[in-house]
Amino acid sequence: MKDLDTNFQAVLTGIRNAIGVPALLLFSAMTGFGSLAQEQGLSLYISMLSTVLIWGMPGQVVHVELYGLGAPLIAVVLGVAGANARFMPMTISMMPVFAESTHNRKWNYLFSHFISINTWAEMLNRGHEIRAERRVSYFLGFSATCMFAGLVGVYQGYVLFESMPDIVSLCLIFLVPIYFGLIMSNTLHPPYLLSFIFGCLLGAPMHLLTPEWGLVLSGTIAGTMAFIIRNWLKDFMKSKEVNG
């Protein structure tokens, strides 16, 4: 990535790189959310605020669905927490990207709110191509653009979804697994690839086992298995080198 001399340039580059597939993805995904929120009787204000303040689609969906069903508060809290728990490992794994930046670390508590699968993958894959002190600005430009596209999506889903032909809605919904499947599989680092494969295999069965915590459970098993296998293989190779 070309030299980013000022923070302003970094913000602009972030915005430019988000316009295109990442913004389109947020738009489509949030169109689906908007229509669901409308069906479940959530107000348009809360539906749009939800995208800005929760900013994690699976949790937003759980909130709307359980609220629509009239579930008790504790069920909604646990359901949302289970669906959005991925933000803890994602935040931990992304923070080193900002480590060499000069900003006060307290700001990380605010910045972490803008992390989504999209921005997380972008910073993990391309963060190192950006000068350390410009990464925050790039991240904010990129995230804000995605969030804005998401907001437009919610609005249009809420207002127009019923008048949209089914085939258009279906294509928008189908974009989400394609996009995330492709960007997440596109890693050359063996333990991450293994985590991805195990996660794909465990995801559906674990959801049937426990719908609330299936994601956390299968993700934790998949990631830990991959991590252990990889370290075991590394040690095995080393001992072979020494002995052979």
């Binding site: 490992p89 990380n108 991805f196 996660g199 995801g203 994601l215």
Partner: protein
């Protein structure tokens, strides 16, 4: 009287999400740079997101649930083929997947 319950549920949902991010920042500030734990947490994130992708594809809700499973899995396979055969370009993968999906909708 105004009904506040919608807002109470909403604000609880906001906290139920933000708490994870907050915990993530605290924990990351306590771990030394280059500690292997960072790699483990990244593995967990990959695992959870992969589970999410598999779940949305295999056990969808709403409109998508009416489409037979093979009509979702086959286009997904096509998207991967398009992506990895033609220089790992996202747009190519998406076009391959969506085209297969639309064709099957018409045939199936």
């Amino acid at each position: 009287m105004v009904d506040y319950s919608e807002w109470i549920f909403f604000i609880s949902a906001i906290f139920a999400t933000y708490i994870w991010r907050f915990a993530g920042v605290i924990i990351s500030h306590r771990i030394e740079a280059n500690h292997p734990a960072f790699e483990w947490f990244t593995c967990l994130a990959y695992g959870i997101i992969a589970s999410l992708v598999a779940r949305t594809l295999i056990i969808p809700s709403g409109l998508m649930a009416e489409i037979p499973l093979w009509q979702r899995l086959f286009p997904m396979l096509f998207a991967f083929i398009g992506f990895y055969m033609f220089g790992k370009r996202l747009l190519v993968g998406i076009v391959f997947g969506e085209t297969a999906f639309i064709l099957l909708l018409f045939i199936g």
